[in-house]
């Protein structure tokens, strides 16, 4: 399994997927630095805070900058996860790479798990770099949460989309061609993201109406099919410790609109996402065990 995992790392690094992603990330972070600087202009720099109002402004700026940063960050790690693994099985079988490797004395489950671990560890490593970078840049221009546990929980949620997407992507790769799976994954991820956007807009525009109920059902189904957006919303809520701060600030403030604090997924949703990932992994593994190459 370690051999296959190592091969996967080498593949991603040699194919320059990772290098290209890191270069584009650097470009994003430079841009993000200037945007964060512009947003944070209305507060004094440094660690000293002269008044409670300024503390709130710095916090609100931090929320806005971080939300913006992680919104983009989630996109990047999602696409890295999808595009690194969408051809893991069908693509390699179509090219004939697998036909040369799998007659070797290695159980198929080890190959599958090794590939999965390779993609996931690299993706999570990248997510960690991105997570820390976004926090540091925001810290330079506004306030960031300093609760270690909240940061840890939010990182776990931020990076949880990596195993989720890679698992579904590898499952799809056992059924569809490489191209078909790429399209399928992009559409599925897009549906989950769209569900989150509809939820965000509808909750602020259609409050209390029948239409909202219907939309909630639709977005609920979308979230169940692709729980990524829900996990991201929960991540933001954990990062800013929304439960603990209940009532301390006005969540309908313009700056907080982007965050959608009104519909934070519950613990049950997190458990659902874990089981969803586990089930997709097991089905993918079963499919690969039975697949003719």
């Amino acid at each position: 399994m370690r051999i296959i995992m190592g091969m996967t790392w080498k593949e991603l690094l040699r194919k320059r997927v990772m290098v290209l992603t890191l270069i584009m990330t650097a470009v994003f972070l430079i841009g993000f630095w200037f945007i964060a600087g512009t947003i944070g202009q209305n507060t004094s720099h440094g660690s000293s805070i002269s008044s409670g109002e300024e503390l709130l402004i710095r916090f609100a700026n931090g929320v806005f900058i971080l939300t913006f940063g992680f919104f983009f960050g989630a996109f990047v790690i999602a696409f890295l996860a999808i595009f690194s693994s969408f051809s893991a099985i069908s693509g390699e079988a179509e090219q004939g790479v697998m036909q040369a490797l799998l007659p070797r004395p290695i159980p198929r489950w080890k190959w599958y798990t090794g590939r999965w671990l390779g993609y996931v560890t690299l993706g999570i490593g990248y997510a960690l770099i991105l997570f820390i970078s976004i926090l540091l840049i925001t810290q330079a221009h506004a306030a960031i949460p300093r609760d270690g546990l909240a940061l840890f929980k939010s990182f776990l949620l931020f990076s949880s989309i990596v195993p989720l997407l890679i698992t579904i992507s590898m499952l799809g790769s056992g059924f569809f061609s490489a191209l078909g799976n790429g399209v399928f994954m992009t559409m599925l991820y897009g549906a989950g993201w769209l569900g989150g956007m509809i939820d965000k807009v509808s909750s602020s525009l259609l409050s209390g109406t029948e239409a909202l109920k219907t939309l909630n059902n639709m977005t609920g189904i979308m979230s169940l099919l692709m729980p990524v957006d829900g996990l991201q919303r929960r991540m933001t809520a954990e990062l800013f410790s929304i439960n603990e701060m209940n009532g301390m600030f006005n969540a309908s403030n313009n700056l907080f609109e982007l965050v959608n604090f009104n519909s934070v997924p519950s613990n049950t949703f997190i458990i659902y996402a874990i089981f969803y990932t586990l089930l997709a992994f097991l089905i993918g593994l079963y499919r690969f065990q039975r697949k003719d190459l």
């Binding site: 051999i3 090219q95 790479v97 040369a100 070797r104």
Partner: protein, 320 residues
């Protein structure tokens, strides 16, 4: 270990499109070189893939040296060169072989010694340090052979091993396979190049539309009809009748009569049991006033055997 290297009993793979293999049973002894022939789409690669564990049979059983096909024990004994394959193009040739060495559980020190030797043997040499994406198809085939030979397999499965090679490369591959055979390695050769099968294999089977049409020893097929051809001048049909009466043989004018220079110069052919009969026939012809220009032995080539076996079959492999 079992005495048979390969034992397939009614191995069947059914596909929705009707292709695949049906009820294929063969036994290949240890150290034997077995040729597996058949036209395109006959199901040869499907059968080989079942034996190496890439395809799950729909029914039937198979063992390699007594181990169930697809098991880790069976896989640890094989070397396999697939027909359609590509190696990881982001790796160098040497790294590809090293990856296979690790998957075979080979110790690093052993791999360090073996890999350069192997790359030299298959003709890759120092180009082993180049990335595979810079390799030609022939180079990739050599690399495939290096990977297949790596673990000193007890049985080699070769699916069109020299299809992308130039004549020199083909000769080299043939030499390598010959050496393996001398070492006692069992060889299962799936090839369109019938010459390879003729030179290397002890036995063979012909697969068409998923079923075995014929099988037997290569030497028996090649020696079955030892015919001789005589280019004679001064021929007349009455002389041919006389010759047949005198000898009791079935001498006939060759179908290659268009090669005759004029109506009295023809090719005659006959199946003879020994070279002594050639001399005797020669004397009789000369006594009857014919002039003998040329004598040649016609051995039935595998290609002819192959063509005869598959001709007259429809696309389902049934006799028309």
């Amino acid at each position: 270990m079992s005495t048979a290297a390969i034992e397939a009993k009614s191995l069947t793979k059914e596909y929705d499109n009707g292709r695949g293999c049906r009820d294929v049973s063969i036994t290949v002894g240890k150290g034997e070189a077995f040729g597996f022939l058949g036209p395109n789409g006959a199901g040869k690669s499907t059968f080989v893939k079942m034996l190496v564990g890439l395809i799950h049979p729909s029914s039937g059983t198979g063992t390699l040296f007594g181990h169930k096909i697809g098991s880790l024990e069976a896989k640890s004994l094989i070397g396999y060169l697939p027909e359609l394959y590509r190696y990881q193009e982001w790796l160098t040739g040497e790294e590809v072989v090293r990856l296979h060495a690790r998957l075979c559980g080979m110790q690093c020190s052993v791999a360090d010694q073996r890999i350069p030797q192997l790359l030299d043997e298959v003709g890759i040499g120092k180009r082993g340090r180049d990335r595979v994406k810079h390799y030609s198809k022939g180079m990739q085939q050599r690399l495939g052979l290096a990977c297949a030979l790596l673990n000193e397999p007890a049985i080699m499965f070769l699916d069109e091993p020299s299809s992308a090679l130039d004549p020199i490369g083909r000769q080299e591959v043939r030499r390598i396979l010959q050496k393996l055979k001398e070492k006692g390695v069992t060889i299962f050769l799936n090839s369109h190049l019938l010459e390879d099968v003729e030179v290397l294999c002890d036995r063979m089977a012909l697969l068409n539309n998923g079923v075995i049409l014929r099988h037997g020893k290569v030497s028996e097929v090649l020696n079955k009809r030892m015919s001789w051809r005589f280019k004679v001048g001064g021929y007349a049909p009455i002389l041919l009748s006389w010759l047949n009466d005198q000898t009791g043989l079935q001498i006939r004018v060759s179908s290659h009569t268009e090669e005759s220079i004029d109506s009295s110069t023809v090719w005659l052919e006959a199946e003879l049991e020994s070279e002594e009969q050639v001399g005797w026939l020669n004397t009789l012809m000369v006594e009857q006033g014919m002039t003998l220009y040329e004598v040649s032995r016609q051995q039935e080539r595998l290609e002819e055997w192959f063509m005869n076996a598959v001709s007259g079959l429809n696309h389902r492999g049934e006799q028309e």
